[in-house]
Symmetry: C2
């Protein structure tokens, strides 16, 4: 406030995760002016979590040295499924107890500003497209590979969200039609093989079946096996860790080849914790995806790491606002 | 000519297939005024085939009782890969010897009318969307299941064609990442299991492996097994035919569930020879796709047969023209 800054186009980006809440004041150019984070404590239920979230929003606005009048609108990124049009969180697996929560209404009433909601993978795709690894690209597919696998699809420079706002569930493309059961109720989904917990589960099963491996020494017990122990065993040349990893890369590469054949995209952006493996992941995945995709579609695509790191949640929520305002303007234009 | 008809917005739809050439004069409302068909005789090579194709176009215009002045533009549907922007047929597997053929240039020079080119699956998707099973739908995925599996994607009411015009290769989504080799060079593609020839090949392999079956009696030899013999054996209760068919339906259903999870479409339209199986195909595929897809995405979608039958090639080629003219108009509008 002391700055005398009168700019009125700030965005408030609100990122609701299963483990943490993050709120940031963001400029339209994607600069984070101030941010605040607290644990979600999801066990408290939606009412108390949303009350603490509101406090966090006020704290972020104060920390930015601005007033609520200077916030153009708020964006919220949250686990799906949700209804972006009605602004309702439906029943996300990572937020147990959040059943049909009218989040947009609650926050709009509290702050007196417009509020826009989308799922966290769409939000991240929008942020990478606008501020990160997808800048200037018309046709881009974003995947976040972490405890789950989420996706967001940018076509013709705009988010594609489908008939009811839930498109982009690329993690639930079946890569082994009769394969492992998936959390979503389907079978053999990409997520059931290549998410962090799925990789650990596959390694655990192999160890429990008696395959000798360094993994058991590193983890203490089969239940102790995590992404980290697998990475360590991989780097020490453990054959079991190598087999599980190679299989995972083949599956992920096959999944990306399918994405290429379906979307003929210019760029695929990979984010999420699993991409911390770096070249251990990108080198084989690029090679396999390119070899398996159809030639004329494999040529124009590149597969790159996300760029926004820990800020992607806040920037994504802010990008949801910008996308919504612009696509509304474009619609008005096209009806001229 | 005798009719005194002065209408000048007819479209010439040109369908180039591996076995037949079809040309029709079509109104913008999708009425076929006149049509002509001849065998492709692909072994003659592109030059002679294109010469005969030109004769066929003249014959269709004459049969319609109009002059070339009354044709607004020509559309061509042809096997891919091709470059719709440059108007070049690149090297389609079903047209051996057609390497980098500048088809649009050749036909535009010959007829003095604008010519637009797209692949046959995109053309069929456009026709079903405009004139057939997809009328009024914003988000629709079309699959043709026949000797191959092709796809076309309509999003927000417009064809989505990707970065280089080759999007929609849904038949080359891998449903068994380490599965059967596919014609495309990939592995375990939907086409490698659920196209007509793939189903027959899987049945043939089972018979050759010694599984007892009516199929051998019906077909005379393993090589004689076709879609028709499988259907006949299925209807007579043959267990091998039943197993192959059930497996195929599970795979096709899983593939459609992936399409639903990725696109969140309002409608999936299935065409091509395999859909002549009728309820034998639609009943299980609907049930399986719906059960495997994520709940909020399974609800809004329906899976329906294509409606345009044998006219889809000609109507599709005509629809390519209409789509191209309209999306150009929309682009101009959006830049206002």
């Amino acid at each position: 406030m002391g700055s005398g800054n009168k700019q009125t186009n700030y965005l408030l980006g609100i990122d609701i995760g299963g483990t943490k809440l993050a709120v940031g004041v963001v400029t339209p150019e994607g600069r984070v002016v101030a941010q605040e984070r607290i644990p979600t404590q999801v066990e408290e239920g939606p009412e108390r979590v949303i009350a603490r979230l509101q406090g966090l929003c006020h704290a972020a606005v104060t920390a930015a040295g601005i007033t609520w009048d200077q916030i153009r609108a708020c964006g919220v990124g949250c686990g799906g499924p949700l209804d972006p049009e009605r602004g309702v969180v439906m029943n996300p697996p990572n937020l147990p107890g959040w059943v049909e929560v009218p989040l947009v209404q609650i926050l709009a009433d509290a702050f007196g500003r417009p509020v826009y909601l989308d799922n966290d993978a769409n939000a991240a795709a929008l942020a990478e497209h606008r501020f990160g690894a997808g800048r200037g690209v018309q046709n881009m597919v974003y995947l976040t590979i972490s405890t789950g696998i989420g996706g967001g699809i940018i076509l013709g420079g705009r988010l594609y969200s489908g008939e009811t706002g839930n498109a982009g569930e690329i993690g639930h493309m079946s890569v082994v039609y009769n394969g492992r059961p998936c959390n979503c109720g389907g079978r053999g989904c990409l997520e059931a093989y290549a998410s962090g917990p799925s990789i650990a589960a596959r390694a655990r099963e192999a160890v429990e079946a008696g395959e000798p491996s360094l993994l058991l020494d590193l983890a203490g017990s089969p239940d102790g096996i995590t992404g980290e122990t697998i990475k360590e065993a991989l780097l020490r040349g453990d054959p079991l860790a190598r087999r599980i990893w190679d299989e995972t890369m083949e599956i992920l590469g096959a999944g990306l080849a399918s994405v290429i054949n379906i979307f003929n995209p210019r760029r695929i952006v990979l984010g999420g914790g699993m991409t911390n493996y770096g070249d251990l992941l990108f080198e084989p995945v690029r090679r396999i995806a390119r070899a398996r995709a159809m030639r004329p579609l494999a040529e124009p695509v590149d597969i790159v790491p996300a760029q926004l790191g820990n800020d992607v949640g806040i920037l994504g929520a802010a990008a949801v606002v910008l996308e919504r305002l612009e696509s509304r303007a474009a619609e008005v234009g096209s009806h001229v």
